[in-house]
Subunit: 348 residues, 2 copies
DNA sequence: TTGTACGCGTTATCAT
DNA sequence: ATGATAACGCGTACAA
């Protein structure tokens, strides 16, 4: 049997297609009895409306799409949960769409906008480096959440919810300095990666400078390896092993993500050293693992839930009241764990 | 400006719509020059073909969809990466679709099948408890990967790639027994959850039985809490705290996932106890964190990459040669970490 | 090589 | 309350 269409159902029920359509879409102008009859035959024949046809015909939908680049990052898991919840709470449908690493997220958004008649778009994470012109093609309300944006784009062009990676990274590095660490290694992303990793590195550099600590390039560590996710435990592990083998003196490691920090801890532990006695280790993100690791890892906790809620709040502001250009920067919190210790005698 | 359609482009170029269509779809029967002209005006006017219309019109696509229930589980991250890679390697498009916890995955698949003219479907994870009839409605080749299936469904109805959770769980519990542990607690899923958690519990029970160790219900631990993901670190942490407070004697904890094991370790550590000296802890899944945790966690490593590859291989077998009913069960590997110790004197 | 016209499955408008 | 019919945007058979 070929897959049934609305016409088949109409024919079987002896009614017109519009009546069937009305039944499906809960239109008011329909007799209870005919509706029941229709719904029943629909169930019997396993009829399923074709979404493409609906989207084609409908002028609008009630869908909000969340576009996420590289779904692998567990950091977004909590965020997604809240986003989905908030979207549903507002009676909208939630559509998660993953955009692949080499894809252009705007391009994808443009496609989706046409295909699904979206009401709004949330860009989660990623790093925007498009032209303004491209961005302006998006007719649908959208918001950037937790992502970086190149300086090339005028800030007036978009709304966003962010954490100031530069500032928060500075906060962490400064904290390590204030603990008395003079030789602080950083495990960063390869410099050619256009991403938040760059901002976190800059925050570190500035903190060193402000604390009158010269930056030793030997302690700025990263690794180019296509088989390796930059924000993975393995990356932290490998880079830290290299760092240890380099035999440069250092007392603290600042990893630009918690996953990296975990890998760093393991490498240090395997080298027979202890945390924080021999080396202090700090992470970034405030992921669960930072708290459940042994020792718990000092980290920068981003207020994930609040950010997700605010993201949706702003998006609805744009959708319903035509607001534009709303930008909200969330402060993150330095959460002190057991992985960092003070080198200052009075505190020891 | 209203969003441009193929007609607009045709009019602007002074050609027919079919010519534009030919240009877009790389048809051979078209003059290079007109094609160039068309492509250029398309770029200039930011024309984007409407996918709904295409899907509606096209009789088939080259898309393979991966349906995943509850994307939060990081276990699937690696798997997804391989699946995507393999699908692309075979010149198909990859479509990831998340199905929400309360949604019916078959229902979703049926919808998607119509909407996207899918070539194949991979169901990743989840637990199938549908009627055979429902399953048979799926006309598109599909395969179950890494998921459980209710006994109610005839095994002849589907193809699958699995790990025998019962057997592997038995393996782990048996290993703990052989280490001399007599009092082995298990951190399981709430019994009403229809999922692999059940099989892992059963494997544990059987192993105890075969080792002549009576099962103490006080050591079978779980927690009902809707705010808590069963397979999360927090779950493991909370349940283990309860376990410790219950002051039942035990020497080992078997957590039915690595995340749970991490939480368990933390709870034990916070109670001032050591792993594995005071308590042995074992996990399940073979996630990265098991190896990077301190101590590394003894676990059951599922051959994720191989399973993903085999999933796609079988799916293509079904698509291209009409194979049916292929079932492959992968053995998993007991990976011994630092979190478990032997209680037998000779080995101490 | 190119253009015209039809149909994909649905919703919405307009009669009835 | 219901049915015929015109779109929605595109691909393609067919004619030119």
């Amino acid at each position: 049997m070929e897959t049934a269409t609305i016409k088949d159902i109409a024919r079987i029920c002896g009614v017109g297609v519009s009546t069937v359509s009305r039944a499906i879409n809960n239109h008011p102008d329909i007799n209870e009895k005919t509706k029941n009859l229709i719904m029943q035959t629909i169930a019997e024949h396993n009829y399923i409306p074709n979404n493409s046809a609906r989207n084609l015909k409908r002028s609008e939908s009630n869908t909000i799409a969340v576009l996420i680049k590289g779904i692998s990052n567990p950091f977004f898991n909590n965020m997604l949960k809240v986003l989905e919840h908030e979207i549903h709470r507002n009676k909208y449908s939630f559509l998660l769409h993953r955009v692949e690493e080499q894809e252009d997220e705007i391009e994808v958004a443009l496609l989706l906008e046409k295909e699904k008649r979206l009401k709004g778009i949330v860009f989660l994470g990623g790093y925007f480096s498009h032209s303004e012109e491209k961005l302006n093609q998006l007719k649908v309300p959208f918001i950037l959440s937790t992502g970086g944006v190149t300086e090339k784009i005028d800030k007036e062009c978009y709304s966003s919810v962010t954490v100031d990676d530069y500032k928060e990274s500075y906060k962490m590095a400064d904290y390590l300095c204030k603990l008395g660490h003079k030789r602080i290694a950083i495990i960063a992303a390869p410099p050619e990666e256009e991403c938040i990793g760059k901002l976190r590195l800059q925050g570190y550099l500035k903190a060193l400078e402000d604390n009158q600590i010269p930056c030793d390039p030997n302690l700025v560590r990263y690794k180019r390896d296509n088989t390796l996710d930059t924000f993975s435990m393995k990356y932290g592990y490998e880079v830290t092993k290299e760092l240890l083998q380099a035999e440069k003196e250092f007392t603290a490691v600042f990893a630009i993500s918690d996953s990296i920090a975990v890998g760093a801890c393991k490498a240090i532990s395997e080298a027979g050293k202890n945390i924080p006695e021999d080396y202090s280790v700090a992470g970034y993100d405030g992921m669960d693992i930072a708290f459940y690791y042994i020792p718990s890892i000092t980290t920068i906790r981003q207020p994930v839930e609040e950010m997700a809620e605010e993201t949706i709040r702003i998006l609805f502001d744009i959708i319903e009241y035509g607001s534009t250009n709303i930008r909200k920067d969330f402060p993150a919190e330095l959460v002190i764990g057991q992985s960092t210790k003070s080198l200052i005698k009075a505190e020891m």
